[in-house]
Amino acid sequence: MGSDGAPVVDATGLVKRYESGGGYLEALKGVDITIERGEFVAVMGPSGSGKSTLLNLLGLLDEPTEGAVRIDGRDTADLSDAERTRARKQTIGFVFQDFYLIPTLTALENVEVPALLDRDPETRGRAADLLGRVGLGDRTDHLPSELSGGQKQRVAIARSLVNEPRLLLADEPTGNLDRETGRTVLDEFTRITEAGVAVVAVTHDPQVPKYTDRTVDMLDGELEP
């Protein structure tokens, strides 16, 4: 593990190349980014600029063609699939654009999902707490189909926090929400960062930068200075 002062995630020289047709498609062309503890960072840019690819690399869902991703100062290049999975579970929370809640589980059970297999008796209480914090204390037994888009997104946020991550990665967290609900979600993110969790949000939404500590712009696989 890295020292206490190490950034949560530190990426250098990230290149991601896909084979397409006869040639290569370069989604990232050498990106350096460092996220400190409790920092709220927005990554903005047009579609196809490589935002989601960057998020997948930072979240250990994908591996870079070149470059290194260090989590808590520790290089992740040589980790096995099982080790990467464990690192995701311990360190990273995900909020997906389409929520991806499990339709057969209640709101509370969905929040529990990341910790469900641990058989930790405290998970349920923590999940109920988190649902209360995002304002859904009265919706615990509802199925996702009985919730509005904003409510689903808040369930997804509660789910991403149940394992007490140090880094939260959000892909278009406000993309499917009206402005009002979007603001509630962003307020929630701000509160999380105050508790020391770093948040990286990939977004098109122009209201997001008002809430963030800094905003990086991406274009054609590179960060704009």
């Binding site: 994908d62 999975t85 991806y100 057969t104 589980l105 059970e109 469900l116």
Partner: protein, 381 residues
């Protein structure tokens, strides 16, 4: 917390798997139905074979358990001596040894007379059962009437009959003997041995408990009585009944083989259902992987789903098989409880076991396929 909730706490994969099965109820039901049919096919065909076997062995009666010893006329022996009987007794151990004298005589009752076989037996209780009355052991006075003769003359236990001008009280009417037996007294009458005017013993029946005991006894008698000369002929049928048993075992296996074909088909349908379900839930599985579920966890969830289908199909299938088995047993044996015999229970267990194993095996490929996919590919929509 309810018991179910506590179970799910303990086995969270079971919770996820069970909920997943409820999302496409029709599809789940059809997959389970396939397993039900397979389990019923295996279990009820197996029970059918075992009932057939019971029925066939029942028709053969005691044939396999009896050894019949008679004089060897080819060697000029016309009857068995007391010494032969003694040797047979020694060779037979605990088995009941019934020496039989035999002659012909006239039986009269109610003004009707019949010419029949008259058997002199001092201990008939060892070889026969009564349908009414009681067989005294030993038989010192009175007579026993064979089932068909009793019906013919309308004789009941307690009546008096005349055999060769001697009057006997009927102690018992003998039970009808199932199938064929080397010794059939159905049309005859049994009286105490000393009251038959015959020069010697024509037959000795040795009644053993099992076919293999009959076989062993026959060999022991052969070794001791026929030691120096071939004085007696020994007839026993245990080998025939063994062959019949082994034929029915083969038949049962063959029937189960046919039944398992339907279970294989059911397995293919589960494979199909699970594959469709994992393709539809691709992104969900990707999310599970993203939030820290290992590949093995995904495999466990999907295998649990497939196994649940098998357990459900197995339980329903065994239930239906018991009903079907009872119907078969009722038709073949007139006794529906034969469907619950230990032999039949083996087939229910086998049906259930193969049902669950087939389902789990069918879930293996879809589970492996889903677990192998990288979360980033699953989530790229």
């Amino acid at each position: 917390m309810s018991r179910v909730a506590a179970l799910y706490r303990r086995f969270p994969t079971l919770l996820i798997a069970r909920r997943n099965l409820t999302r496409t109820t029709a599809r789940t039901t059809l997959a389970v139905l396939g397993i039900v049919i397979g389990v019923v096919a295996i279990a009820s065909l197996g029970v059918f074979g075992s009932v057939l076997q019971t029925a066939a062995v029942g028709n053969l009666g005691d044939i396999g358990n009896q050894v019949v010893v008679g004089p060897n006329s080819e060697e000029g022996v016309t009857s068995l001596s007391e010494r032969d009987v003694r040797e047979i007794r020694e060779a037979s151990g605990d088995a009941g040894v019934v020496p039989i004298k035999q002659s012909r005589g006239t039986v009269e009752y109610g003004g009707v007379s019949r010419m029949t076989s008259v058997y002199g037996i001092s201990n008939p209780a060892a070889a026969f059962n009564a349908s009414s009355g009681r067989i005294p052991d030993p038989l010192r006075g009175g007579a026993l009437v064979g089932a068909s003769l009793a019906e013919d003359l309308d004789v009941r236990a307690g009546n008096s009959i005349t055999v060769d001008n001697r009057t006997y009280r009927v102690r018992a009417v003998l039970a009808e003997q199932g199938g064929f037996s080397p010794l059939n007294v159905g049309a005859g009458v049994v009286v105490p041995a000393e009251q038959v005017n015959s020069t010697g013993i024509q037959q000795v029946v040795v009644q053993t408990e099992t076919g293999s005991a009959a076989n062993a006894t026959a060999q022991a008698i052969r070794a001791s009585v026929n030691d120096r000369e071939e004085r007696v002929t020994i007839t026993e049928f245990s080998q025939i009944t063994e062959q019949i048993d082994s034929f029915f075992d083969t038949l049962s296996l063959f029937l189960i083989g046919i039944g398992s074909i339907s279970l294989v088909v059911a397995g293919v349908s589960i494979l199909n259902v699970m594959l469709m379900s994992t393709i539809e839930r691709r992104e969900e599985i990707g999310v599970l992987r993203a939030v820290g579920y290992q590949r093995l966890d995904v495999v466990k969830i999907l295998l649990t789903e497939a196994s649940l289908l098998g357990v459900l199909g197995g339980v329903v299938g065994v239930g239906l098989s018991v009903v079907a088995g009872a119907a078969i047993a009722q038709v073949a044996l007139g006794d529906p409880t034969a469907a619950l015999s230990p032999e039949a229970a083996v087939y229910y267990l086998a049906g259930f076991f193969f049902g669950v194993v087939t389902s789990a095996l069918s879930g293996l490929y879809p589970a492996w396929k889903a677990a192998r996919e990288r979360p980033v590919d699953a989530l790229r929509s």
